[in-house]
Amino acid sequence: MTLPLDLNTLNARGRWPPPDGPRVAIVGSRRPSPYGEAVAEQLAADLARAGVVVVSGLALGCDAAAHRGALVGGGVTVAVMGTGVDIVYPAAHFRLAEEIIAAGGALVSQFPNGTSPRRQNFPARNVTLAALSDVVVVVEAVQGSGALITAEAALDLHKEVMAVPGSIFSPLSVGTHALIRDGAGLVQNARDVLAALGVGREVLDDPLGAPKRLGFGLPKERDGILLHLSDVLAVSTAELARKLHLPVAEVLGRLTSLELDGAVRRHGAGYVRALRNGKERA
């Protein structure tokens, strides 16, 4: 497949082209689970530390988490937009866009300035995103997600596609599991991605050691509730109460207490374990 456009004609704000170095696209659902969001952020931070330019789409959810992670890791990140570079969409990411530019990254777009968000422009943006990257990592994707369009485009352009596994119960991992089944590389940590890039053996951990999982320590266990919580799927208070044989009022109280400590958070009509990346968010 050849690109329908010349990458040299992209409009850009910020430093463009970015500094030399491998480029990795991290894409995923606009409504990720807390797990997906944490993975995107952690992966981006570790890759940025290793000198990788993190490319994503400035969308809600995984995209924003990836950009944020890259900034936390002190790296350069590029946002490929489906609007003109002068229009930040969603508008809530205005600050994030400014931070990306301030950190030496760029907003780029194939669309002329003044292009407002249009449904039909985003698939083309996804192709450009793939074309700009050496490897595309899909974090979480439901079936038919835009992230899968990016992955498909990457395959057509002979780029490497990798995917992060998740829970088999989670609809958000259906797309990524399908990619893995079809041969996409499995991502358990930043090293897996770096290996695919063929760079930086010594960047993260000891190359001889066992691959380190993405490093989330479980919060300190207090009352057995955490064992019954997942970091992907929300568990309702009622369900927990039944499993623990406790009155629902008491379980609700304990969950609130854990929430105050930042160990759990609400998600949908239930609670999930809060994943902490070991560093505070910027």
């Binding site: 606009r30 409504r31 809600l60 969603p90 439901v142 119960f169 609809p171 799927l233 929300a234 309702s236 208070t237 009622a238 109460a241 039944r242 629902v248 009022a249 008491e250 609700l252 109280g253 304990r254 969950l255 609130t256 207490s257 105050l260 958070r265 609400r266 998600h267 949908g268 009509a269 239930g270």
Partner: protein, 503 residues
């Protein structure tokens, strides 16, 4: 000859005395009706003329003037038909109107006396204004008979009333009904025993019932929000006498009382559709405002399903009554205040398609649409809803396997005990406690106070939100039978604050 008869017109839950003066004098045969009568009263002329003739009485063939005093007050409604007819008939035979007696009733052309709305309100006010006797339509006599110390004459026909007044035949007064509170509950239409699973929402309903707290249920379609809401009246105590009286008065104004059984002990449950207008929900109409759904739900439950679909101004208007338990409405006919102390149960989908956050079905709404939908539930309104819980959809195949909960009867026992504690301590429900009284009546352990403060800092709770959580904690402690509020009560209360998190 001149005859004067007393009556009244209603303005909200108050009645104003009206003197009906009829004077027949020599001159051209004419019938004047003066004294700022609205159209419905002006029409009385035609009804009265026919009713008098068809009752076998004489209609004066003279120059007839009927004056409704005081003249500056606008008069509406058909209840003045009877007093006008009586005044004319008495003037014709040269008799005075009876002292300390008031008349109320609409006339049919054949002289039969028909039902009018608001007889209970009128009777209560007339008693207060110093009247001893009321003549009311026989259909409404049971309403007036609830007022102690008032002789109630049930009127079937104009001819009969006239005969009673001139002394040719007597009407037996309807005796005073001494009401006793009916403690028994009938068969519940919706019993909590039929709700499978949903333990968290069940608990929230119990807390809402115990402390009089407002409740928001949020969840996908088919998760049982409506069913849960309908279970609430069944775990509330029956109305007390004073409450039943207030409920009956609003119903009386609207002509909504069950005939022959004016007092009802079950708590009202009102569920207006989301298309309801401002006047329909809050109260309104031309002239003097009539009570709306919130006043019909007084001392009961107001259920607003699909909260986000209600018009924004209508929801905004709920704020004042939610705080004060009353609503004051001004219309051209004057300002009236109606009681509106209800427990609000609101239900909403998390997004327009309803599936946001559902573990199985995927939500198809864009973020902007979801944001817009949730913005419609304004912060100030949600801030007034103490209990907010997410309701999950239980798949049909698993529904039968979900554990059955306690029946309403058992939950009701606990609710009654908790309410009794509150009444004994403070004379009102926890939801109605003012912040200043909270400090004295809802003492917290030092640790639990710190918990509450930590949460307010983390989530940016408003002062109102802070006090709401405090009140709910008070109720949780009351349900347990504990006087001092412990950490677990505060934590439970904070667990019901869904929208501190979403914000």
């Amino acid at each position: 000859m001149l005859a004067t008869v007393d009556s009244c017109v209603l303005a909200g839950l108050e009645a104003r005395r009206v003197e009906v003066q009829a004077d027949s004098a020599n001159g051209e045969t004419k019938f004047f009706l003066v004294g700022l009568a609205a159209t419905s009263v002006k029409e009385a002329r035609e009804r009265v003329r026919s009713a008098i003739k068809n009752s076998g009485l004489d209609f004066p063939r003279k120059r007839l003037t009927v004056n409704l005093a005081p003249a500056e007050m606008r008069k509406e409604g058909s209840g003045l038909d009877l007093p006008i007819a009586i005044a004319i008939a008495l003037a014709e035979v040269g008799k005075r109107g009876p002292a300390r007696s008031a008349f109320l009733g609409e006339l049919a052309l054949d002289g039969a006396i028909r039902h009018v709305d608001g007889v209970l309100v009128a009777a209560r006010c007339l008693k207060k204004l110093g009247f001893d006797r009321v003549f009311v339509p026989a259909a409404d006599a049971s309403e007036a008979a609830l007022i102690e110390g008032l002789e109630v004459i049930p009127c079937e026909h104009l001819a009969g009333v006239f005969a009673h007044l001139v002394g040719s035949a007597q009407i037996t007064p309807t005796p005073f009904t001494n009401v006793v509170v009916d403690e028994t509950t009938g068969v519940l239409e919706n019993d909590l025993a039929e709700v499978h699973g949903q333990e968290e929402a069940r608990r929230a309903i119990e807390v809402a019932a115990a402390g009089g707290h407002h409740l928001l249920l949020s969840g996908p379609p088919g998760s049982g929000k409506t069913m849960l809401a309908r279970c609430l009246p069944g775990i509330l105590p029956p109305l007390e006498l004073a409450e039943a009286f207030e409920v009956a008065q609003v119903r009386s104004l609207l002509g909504d009382l069950a005939p022959g059984r004016p007092l009802d002990w079950t708590r009202p449950f009102r569920a207006p559709h989301h298309g309801v207008s401002m006047a329909g929900l809050i109260g309104g109409g031309s002239g003097v405002a009539m009570p709306g759904e919130i006043s019909r739900a007084n001392h009961g439950v107001l259920f607003l399903d699909e909260l986000a679909e209600f018009q924004a101004p209508v929801l905004q208007a709920l704020r004042q009554p939610l705080e004060t338990g009353r609503v004051t409405i001004t219309r051209s006919g004057g300002t009236v205040t109606y009681p509106a102390r209800f427990t609000l149960v609101a239900a909403t989908n998390p997004c327009p398609c309803g599936w946001l956050g559902d573990p199985v079905r995927t939500c198809r709404c864009t973020q902007a649409v979801v944001d817009g939908y949730q913005r419609r539930l304004s912060g100030p309104l949600l801030d007034r809803i103490d209990l907010q819980v997410g309701v999950r959809r239980v798949p049909l195949t698993e529904l039968a396997a979900e554990p059955r909960g306690e029946p309403s009867q058992v939950v009701r026992e606990r609710v009654l005990a908790a309410r009794a504690r509150q009444q004994a301590r403070q004379g009102c429900l926890n939801a109605q406690l003012k912040p200043s009284r909270l400090r004295h009546l809802a003492a917290m352990e030092a640790g639990s106070k710190r918990t509450l403060e930590r949460w307010s800092e983390q989530k940016g709770l408003t002062a109102r939100g802070f006090h709401r959580a405090w009140r709910v904690a008070r109720t949780a402690a009351d349900l347990e039978g504990t006087e001092l509020i412990a950490d677990r009560h505060v934590l439970e209360a904070l667990g019901y604050r869904l929208h501190d998190v979403a914000a």
